[in-house]
């Protein structure tokens, strides 16, 4: 077999994005060559991307083999489940609490839920915990203040590393150290405009 699975996937990805782009671009007028409309350049770009994706796909059948990493059944099913759970939580969030109505709160809680579900599958765990940690930061920052947001973020991020999972005291140490450092750098020195403690604004 000479099929390059990575290139097949790359080609398909480029083509799919280009096709979506061309479809979305239907909203924009093309204009004329003299006074180009908003849709002119995107049209050129997405057709070019489509062509390149096709070439990548065509060449992929000759320049392999380069297989993708193996997915377990759990990896695949958890990916689907996490997308469903994330979407459901995101859509339901505004009805549960007005907390999620502003600052993309419902997007954040949806993404957080999705990533946490995804973390159940070993293949996704690292990606999921790191991303979940960042989502938690966004959710908590404006209403919970920087310190709370950072503490939760560091907690979730540390779940990604097996050595931390068995040593909660070590994680506490890291958290306290980083909280102090971030306070000193960003609040004391740089004075960035953000709430520091819960319910400050």
């Amino acid at each position: 077999m000479k099929i390059n699975a990575k290139d097949v996937a790359s080609g398909v990805l480029l083509i799919l994005i280009a096709a979506t782009g061309l479809w979305l671009n239907g909203d924009h007028s093309l204009g004329s060559a003299r006074r180009m409309g908003p849709g002119y350049m995107p049209m050129l770009v997405f057709w070019a991307q489509m062509a390149l994706g096709t070439i990548v796909l065509a060449l992929a059948f000759f320049n392999g083999p380069d297989p993708l990493e193996k997915w377990t059944g759990l990896d695949a099913s958890m990916l689907i489940i996490s997308v469903i759970v994330g979407t459901a939580v995101g859509l339901a969030a505004p009805y549960i609490s007005s907390f999620f109505e502003s600052s993309y709160g419902s997007l954040g809680i949806g993404m957080l839920a999705g990533f946490l579900v995804l973390a159940y599958a070993a293949g996704w765990r690292l990606l999921a915990f790191i991303c979940a940690a960042m989502c938690a930061f966004c959710l908590l920052l404006e209403k919970g203040g920087l310190m709370l947001a950072l503490a939760v973020t560091i907690g979730i991020a540390c779940l990604a590393e097996p050595e931390h999972r068995s040593r909660p005291l070590g994680v506490l140490g890291i958290t306290i150290f980083l909280l102090a450092m971030c306070w000193w750098i960003f609040i004391k020195q740089l004075d960035i405009r953000v709430a520091v403690w819960p319910l400050q604004y």
């Binding site: 609490s97 907390f99 502003s102 600052s103 404006e142 405009r193 819960p198």
Partner: protein
């Protein structure tokens, strides 16, 4: 940031109540005041806000902290303040883009420039000006109009961007004189001025502060300034009215808060801002920025904004610019 009214209703926040109670009592301001500048740092608006915030903070006894919230033609910052609690601790630099033009430009604006704000004070106005490359033949606006009608596809005039007040002034000029104009938009006044000096585009519509240095240096020639009388610092540049075009236009910005601000707070802010504006230091710095200081009462400032919204609507319509 957050619709505070909404989450108050949700009952989530007893802790914030004392802050609001405080704000409405005599002791306002009990906490630092956030002044949202809906533009990126470094522009005229940002600089002016930072100048005023210092003096204002000294007078109020609480720091006034400038916070840049740029984006979407200044409407992001405005939408944020429109939703903030009217406790006098969140204010915005209201301006021609977010409060004058945006209501006509954006179909689904998330705020009403009048109903969602308590307007407090006007800071400065900066006149608009048409400048031309030194090699551009016409000597006055009449010749410009004639030249534009002779050219089959119109005369190129640059501006700092589509939907900006500089762009709309070109449209208005075309409407009033019958000049045939080919608008060439840029990303900001700097690149437009570069091409004006390089004679890529013969004419440009700009605001006086950003064109001032180039006018003084003779890099470009002032064709017409949109003030009622000639500008004292640029007495050689004729006004539009001098040349038979009744066009008076300037860019402006002031201070506003969310709707429902206690009148006492608005009055106090207006008084302190007027005092700060009257200080010689501020006067000098503002003059250097190219602006004219015009103190207005809260009510007159609101009327002024209402007039601006009404004025720009038909011009935006005619310009064909839209954002949705």
């Amino acid at each position: 940031m957050l619709p505070r009214r909404a989450w108050l209703a949700g009952g989530a926040v007893f802790a914030a109540l004392p802050a609001i109670a405080c704000a409405q009592g005599k002791s306002w301001p009990a906490q630092p005041i956030r002044l949202i500048v809906p533009f990126a740092p470094g522009g005229t608006t940002d600089l002016a806000a930072r100048l005023v915030s210092q003096g204002l903070g000294d007078r109020l006894g609480q720091p006034v902290v400038v916070e840049n919230r740029p984006g979407a033609g200044a409407t992001l910052g405005a939408a944020q303040v429109a939703q903030a609690a009217p406790d006098g601790l969140t204010l915005i630099v209201s301006n021609i883009a977010s409060h004058g033009i945006a209501p006509s430009l954006y179909r689904d604006l998330r705020y009403d420039p009048l109903r969602d704000f308590t307007h407090i004070a006007l800071l400065i106005e900066t006149p608009s000006v048409f400048v031309a490359n030194q090699r551009f033949p016409p000597g006055d606006l009449g010749e410009v109009v004639r030249l534009s009608q002779e050219q089959p596809r119109g005369l190129d005039i640059a501006s700092s961007g589509s939907g900006s007040s500089n762009h709309l002034l070109i449209v208005q000029f075309g409407q009033m004189t019958g000049a045939r104009v080919n608008h060439v938009p840029y990303r900001g006044a700097g690149p437009a001025m570069t091409d004006g000096i390089a004679d890529v585009v013969p004419m440009m519509s700009d605001s006086l502060p950003s064109a001032a240095g180039h006018l003084q240096a003779g890099a470009v020639r002032g064709m017409a300034v949109a003030t009622a009388a000639r500008h004292p610092a640029f007495s050689a540049v004729p006004t539009f009215r001098d040349q038979g075009v009744d066009l008076v236009s300037s860019s402006w910005f002031g201070i506003s808060g969310p709707a429902g601000l206690p009148p006492a707070v608005a009055e106090r802010l207006n008084r302190e801002i007027s005092t700060v504006l009257a200080e010689p230091g501020t006067q000098r710095r503002f003059a250097e920025l190219g602006g004219l200081v015009r103190p207005l009462s809260p009510a007159t400032y609101a009327e002024f904004i209402a007039g601006e919204v009404a004025r720009w609507a038909p011009i935006v319509q005619a310009s064909g610019a839209r954002a949705d």
